[in-house]
């Protein structure tokens, strides 16, 4: 609960909509990780930077923790409210402030959705490249906070690579501009540091994104393979051939079937693995490029190969991939989406280890994979109403993260740590490395009021979790439950 003193001070702020009614507050009790819910004692929706700043100052002066929320599509509990904190919704900051077709940038407020940017600049022949599957809903502020990726990251990079400048507000209300007007700024690269900081360092209040010209020509190849190993080798072969596809995605049998049942994308149901390879470039080169890649895929053992070059056919192929999560959601009451990244050469071993855990826990798993950059999304199917299944799903998830670490990967490629993976942070990092994170936090937010308890575990928490770091992967207790 927040004290009446604080609530009534917040009520005084013009342009701050306060949600006090419990039935309206309930909407905010979780983000996309619905397994963790916490009713926020109070939700504030500022409608101006001044209102935001005043709210921050009041909270700061009274030591009230704050949690920023964009669209709440995050999958790691980053925007889960705190029992004693103010949840600050930034969705009202949804204006596109400036589009500069010459510099190819757009300056936008943090609550603008990812897709809205590309829509707004389309008439200028431009687009914003990072495209999380949640792009119709997720906000650019949330994208920065998570350093989100999408299917086009292999060629065009993550959010970090496509943001030129940020305006941030620190916990005490101070406003800073990071990134300057050029491409380099003297001093430490705080712009990079803000990316993936999960709302713990500062609130993103304005984003200047870099735009790219819409490619002249785009084509999508879909190849079916009889096993995931062959598909993984095909991915290597494409890259080895010197081609950098705009997107290179892989789905396994269960994901293919779920997606096909859901959206009828025309996927090969007999395949054990599917590759979607998007190529883009100029009109002059695309046909030749496509031929070359088709030859590589065929040589790598593709059993079926389809090319979609017109926009509608391409969209249909992508729809299945982009709707993979909801599609899987139709074949089980609940699914738990994991997000590890591994060096791609270990894909076969990692998938085998995941299959082994699937059998062990008696829960099916569907795999969706940003194959080009090694980012794996195993979707664990379970029924949350069955508490035993819920616990098995959690344990399975923890094992998947341990497997990723064991093979030299990371516990999160793009969804963030949040609350969900906070204990596994103790496995990935030593106490010393965690202390470095805490030091950074203290420089930005000395009172520790922004999103406390998320993303970076305290050393005490790690000690209680008991999983002391073992160097370079080899984890001691992969079987330990996470909560």
């Amino acid at each position: 609960m927040l004290s009446e003193v604080i609530t009534s001070s917040l009520r005084q702020i013009d342009d701050l909509e306060l949600i006090e009614d419990p039935s309206r507050r309930k909407v905010y009790e979780s983000d996309g990780l619905t397994a963790i819910a916490q009713m926020p004692p109070l939700v504030g929706l500022p409608n101006s930077l001044q209102a935001l700043q005043e709210a921050l100052r009041i909270c700061h002066n009274h030591g009230v923790p704050m949690v920023a929320r964009g669209a709440g599509t995050g999958l790691s509990g980053g925007a889960t409210p705190l029992a004693d904190g103010l949840l600050i919704g930034l969705a009202k900051f949804n204006r596109i402030l400036e589009i500069d077709p010459v510099k190819m940038t757009a300056r936008v407020e943090p609550g603008v959705t990812n897709l809205a940017i590309s829509k707004a600049v389309a008439s200028a022949g431009l687009f914003y490249a990072p495209d999380p599957s949640s792009q119709i809903a997720c906000t650019i502020g949330g994208n920065v906070a998570e350093n989100s990726g999408g299917v086009h990251c292999l060629k065009y990079g993550l959010t970090l690579h496509n943001v030129c400048a940020l305006k941030i507000m620190l916990a005490d209300g101070e406003v800073l501009s990071l990134g300057g007007t050029g491409l380099w700024e003297d001093g430490l690269d705080l712009l990079a540091l803000l990316h993936g900081s999960e709302g713990l360092l500062g609130l993103v209040i304005e984003v200047t994104v870099a735009l790219r010209p819409v490619p002249e020509a785009v084509t999508v190849l879909m190849a079916g393979f009889k096993d995931t190993n062959a598909a993984a080798n095909a991915v290597s072969a494409v890259i080895q051939a010197g081609v950098l596809p705009a997107g290179l995605e892989m789905m396994d049998r269960l994901a293919i079937q779920a997606a096909e049942d859901f959206v009828h994308a025309g996927y090969p149901l007999e395949a054990d693995a599917l590759l979607l390879c998007e190529l883009d470039g100029s009109d002059a080169e695309i046909a030749g490029l496509s031929e070359a890649v088709q030859a590589v895929l065929q040589a790598a053992g593709a059993d079926s190969l389809v090319e979609a070059s017109d926009a509608a056919a391409r969209a249909r192929l992508w729809l299945g991939r982009k709707a993979a999560f909801p599609a899987v959601g139709r074949i089980a009451p609940d699914y738990y989406c994991m997000d590890g990244t591994i060096p791609r050469r270990h894909l076969a071993e990692v998938l085998a280890a995941i299959t082994d855990r699937s059998v062990h826990y008696g829960l099916p798993v569907a795999n969706v994979f940003h194959a080009g950059d090694g980012n794996l999304h195993p979707l664990i199917l379970y029924d949350a109403n069955d508490s035993d299944q819920f616990q098995r799903a959690e344990a399975f998830g923890a094992d998947v993260l341990a497997i990723c670490l064991q093979f030299g990967g990371t516990i999160t490629g793009e969804h963030g740590v949040g609350l969900e993976k906070i204990d596994q942070m103790c496995n990935q990092f030593t106490a010393l490395e965690l202390a470095v994170f805490h030091a950074v936090k203290s420089a930005f937010d000395p009172s520790g009021l922004l999103n406390p308890g998320k993303a970076i575990p305290t050393l005490n928490r790690c000690a209680e979790f008991g999983a002391m770091h073992v160097h370079q992967g080899a984890q001691k207790h992969p079987e330990l439950p996470r909560f």
Binding site: L176, G180, L183, P343, G374, G408, T410
Partner: protein, 342 residues
């Protein structure tokens, strides 16, 4: 050879004697740290070697003392390269120096800078302890991005031991085109050409606009047609000179970073990054172009150093707080003062 232990001992010894540590590689960019003369140089020059390289994963991990030229040779054997195109200030330049200096070449606006290709790092922290951040994978959002914080930090946050880098396939064709013109016409072309498919550099030096195409053979003609009249194929030498800053100048060299469409003024030595980076030679700081850009000092003349100061704005203060939080005892050199004192 792995010199981590030896380097760590040297750092520990310096810390215990309350000496300030200045990490160094090949010493090719020492001009970047004018004020650090009394600090103890801890050199990574022997700490070299490629730890692993998987061309089909586009990832390489090397020790920091690895010579940039050795790295580049290894990559080119596999048909790959470092897209951030770091300047070559001589054969001694190391990967650690490249990362810590954070200088990117002409391709910066089109394919990204050093920070965009660094995936992970192992370093000796100012406490003397060894820590690792990031990893060998393309996507990794566990913990704050300490790896990229160290890119361009000029050794102020620790001594880099290892770096994992993202690399890319070498384009089929790379061709530079030149057009003789004055700076303002060059800028008009730069602005008009920003969207060309395959554009990978746009610089101006010695009265010549230099535009580079990289991509497939098939698309090259379309690029040439889009360039328009007057551009002729030229060698890479001009652009390499811009990248390596091998301009003759007797005065101090200053850099200006700002908006591509800011008016071109002053005693311009060169423009790079499509106009977002400009070099000026002058004894005193060139007139600051206001909110359209920022002037920083880059390289000395034979004369005395100009009066320089640390950034004093809110961002500068926050940068200082970060440095202090990560190096409470000031065991490592500070980030150099680069702004002209007014």
């Amino acid at each position: 050879m792995d010199q981590s232990d030896a380097l760590q001992r040297v750092v520990h010894a310096a810390i215990s004697q309350r000496q300030v540590v200045r990490p160094g590689g090949g010493g090719t960019k020492e001009f970047l740290l004018p004020a650090a003369a009394d600090a103890v140089l801890v050199s990574t020059a022997e700490h070299e070697g490629i730890l692993h390289y998987h061309p089909d994963e586009l990832v390489i991990r090397v020790r920091s003392g690895t010579r940039l030229i050795d790295l580049q040779a290894t990559l080119s054997e596999a048909g790959q390269y470092l897209p951030c195109e770091p300047p070559s200030f001589g054969a001694a330049g190391t990967v650690g120096g490249m990362v810590a200096a954070g200088l990117a070449g002409p391709s910066r606006p089109y394919v990204g800078g050093v920070r965009d290709y660094v995936l992970g790092m192992k370093l000796i922290l100012p406490s003397g302890e060894i820590a690792a951040f990031g990893g060998d994978v393309m996507k990794n959002v566990a913990g704050y991005d300490i790896t990229r914080l160290n890119v361009g930090a000029r050794g102020s946050l620790g001594l880099i031991l290892e770096v994992a880098l993202k690399v890319l396939p070498i384009p089929e064709v790379v061709q530079v085109y030149g057009l003789t013109c004055d700076p303002s016409l060059a800028q008009r072309h730069m602005l008009a050409q920003r969207r060309l498919t395959g554009l990978s550099a746009s610089a101006y030096c010695d009265g010549e606009l230099l535009v580079r195409y990289q991509g497939s053979k098939r698309a090259k003609t379309a690029f040439e047609q889009a360039l328009g009249q007057g551009f002729v194929p030229v060698s890479n030498a001009g652009l390499a000179a811009v990248r390596d800053l091998s301009f003759a100048h007797t005065e101090h060299l200053w850099r200006w970073d700002g908006a591509v469409d800011a008016p071109v003024t002053g005693r311009l030595v060169a423009m790079d990054w499509g106009g977002a980076l400009r070099w000026f030679a002058s004894d005193v700081a060139p007139h600051n172009a206001g909110d359209k850009g920022v002037i920083t000092w880059f390289r000395p003349s034979e004369g005395v150093l100009p009066a320089l100061t640390l950034r004093a704005d809110g961002v500068g203060r926050l940068q200082q707080r970060v440095k202090t939080a990560l190096d409470a005892n000031g065991s490592f050199i500070g980030y150099p003062a680069l702004r002209p004192s007014s």
